[in-house]
Amino acid sequence: MLQLANLSKAYAGRTVISVPDLILPSGIHWFRGINGSGKTTLFRTVAGLLPFAGQVWLDHQYEVTKTPVDYRMRVNYAEAEPLYPDFLSARDLARFVGKAKQAPPGQTEALADQLGMTGYWQQPVSTYSSGMLKKTALLLAFLGDPRVILLDEPFTTIDDVAGAVLLTLIQEARQRDVLFLLASHQDISLSGLTITATWRVQDGVLQ
């Protein structure tokens, strides 16, 4: 379970997202909203990427600023438009993140194989298409033993095959009771996933 309390994120004095109180039980939560509504800022904040005011608790035990190491060990995030150093390969990034997130042996290779990345994952990311970059971000988001996975626009730019693999990965993770936060403009309810709740983000406010 994820609990947000008095969460507020501002840029240059302008509040971009504000969540007074929100409890997200285990399941798949779909966040919708127009461009610039604050979805990505909310996801980055919950993932611990941005400083903010307020609290984010995981399972009543881990708080993003009070226990940052334990919290980040259990919360993973995939960017909508990932950007990596162009001279690194997906393998470099996966080994780095996998080691930090204490991924079990073989997990990285298995995920790369499932996502169809083994043919190119030793190449530098400068040679990747946007879909290949997205698959890299998705691979990194499933590494380790996360309790929460935030996926920002997970289905954009990837092909149908990768999309089907992603659905399988989400369903498998759900069997381990992983909580998902998905931001998407596409109708996720058509994907066959069981959506626990749908949230609309508008002008930095959750509805």
Partner: protein, 366 residues
């Protein structure tokens, strides 16, 4: 006019902000330690020595190369794609706009060359004056031409390197980025920093100096790296956002950064070892020299302050001005305190304290 104003803000201003640390050190050395008469003496020597004059032109060329490389790279940045619309301007008008941009970017070179020319005219050195004017004109026009050429070819084919068999460890990410994307700034930083340390090490035995000379050399050497620290922060904010999601404690993060900076700071260790004016250094025994322990502390102090600069970048990653203002203030305060005899171990502990405090602010508490 609007095109020139936009380029002024997107290229010229950013160029000087990014190089403020490096240019500040040069200005500090050139106009802090040397008087105007010293400069004119060097200029007069250059006017009668073709070799020295060639040295002047070589330094100006290095500066122009850096400026052109920066402008060309910035033009390819995704956020500045709109500048491609400059292609719609007529050729002469575009060249005029670029000429205005490079008049400003090459300002330090043009200014110093104009001063040298005025000295040359007073001395009646017509030949060298013509050479200087021609050199600056060639640099200026070459800069304009090279930039306009890039405008027409905005995304050149990158150099394809053979596939790496080994996995790149994190502490090599930034050095690899520098080697691939910022080779000139890396080279210039290391050359200037190593020359500064070599200079103070060799100056030490020539007069009745004490440890303060080495400490002032260290401050200048560390501050030469200000641009690299800023680049490091920008690199991770832009390309490695995922780092903030990694479950590292503050000390783990600082340990990883310390490894990277130790690698970047390694040439200075070799320079100190090679030129150390020590009383207990093999081959350099000298009763009035410095201890080996002081040398080790000096290097560690440099490393600690590089880390301190790094953590300060992360406190305000989007505010380069804020950071550079504090860096300059730090140099002035540091130099004054050193003159008053603050010892190296105090600098080391202060640097570590800044790392600890600033690191906590930057990455949160554990």
């Amino acid at each position: 006019m609007i095109h020139f104003l936009i380029l002024q803000r997107t290229l010229v201003r950013v160029f000087f902000l990014r190089h403020a640390g490096f240019l500040g050190v040069i200005a500090y050395l050139a106009f802090g330690f040397m008087r105007a008469s010293d400069h004119e003496a060097i200029m007069e020597a250059a006017l009668i020595s073709p070799f020295l004059l060639a040295g002047f032109v070589a330094i100006w060329m290095l500066y122009a190369l850096r400026a052109v490389s920066f402008v060309r790279k910035t033009l390819s940045a995704p956020e500045l794609t709109f500048l491609q619309t400059l292609r719609l301007l007529s050729g002469p008008r575009r060249w005029l706009v670029w000429a205005g941009v490079f008049w400003n970017v090459l300002g330090p070179v043009i200014g110093y060359a104009a001063w040298t020319v005025s000295v040359g005219i007073k001395r009646g050195a017509t030949g060298p004056v013509v050479v200087i004017i021609a050199s600056v004109l060639v640099l200026w026009l070459a800069a304009v031409g090279a930039t306009d050429w890039r405008l027409h070819r905005p995304q050149p084919e990158p150099l394809r390197l053979p596939t790496r068999r080994f996995v790149l460890p994190y502490w090599l990410f930034f050095p690899a980025y520098l080697a691939r994307h910022r080779p000139l700034i890396l080279t210039l930083t290391k050359v200037v920093s190593c020359l500064l340390l070599t200079g103070v090490c060799r100056l030490y035995p020539t007069d009745d100096y004490d440890e303060r000379l080495l400490l002032i050399g260290l401050i200048l050497s560390v501050i030469t790296h200000a641009g690299l620290c800023q680049q490091f922060g920008a690199f991770e904010t832009r390309n490695l956002l995922l780092l903030r999601n990694m479950p590292f404690s503050n000390w783990q993060r600082l340990g990883l950064y310390a490894l990277t900076y130790a690698l970047l700071w390694l040439p200075e260790a070799l320079i100190l070892a090679r030129n150390w004016p020590g009383h207990d250094w093999p081959g350099h025994e000298w009763p009035g020299g410095l201890s080996l322990l002081f040398g080790v502390l000096l290097w560690l102090t440099g490393l600690a302050w590089l880390l301190a600069l790094h953590t300060l970048v992360y406190n305000r990653p989007d505010d380069v001005d804020w950071w550079f203002r504090r860096v300059f203030a730090g140099v002035i305060v540091g130099t004054i305190l050193t003159m008053f005899g603050v010892p190296v171990w105090v600098w080391l502990l202060t640097g570590l304290a800044v790392v600890s405090f600033s690191g906590r602010r930057a990455y949160g508490s554990n």
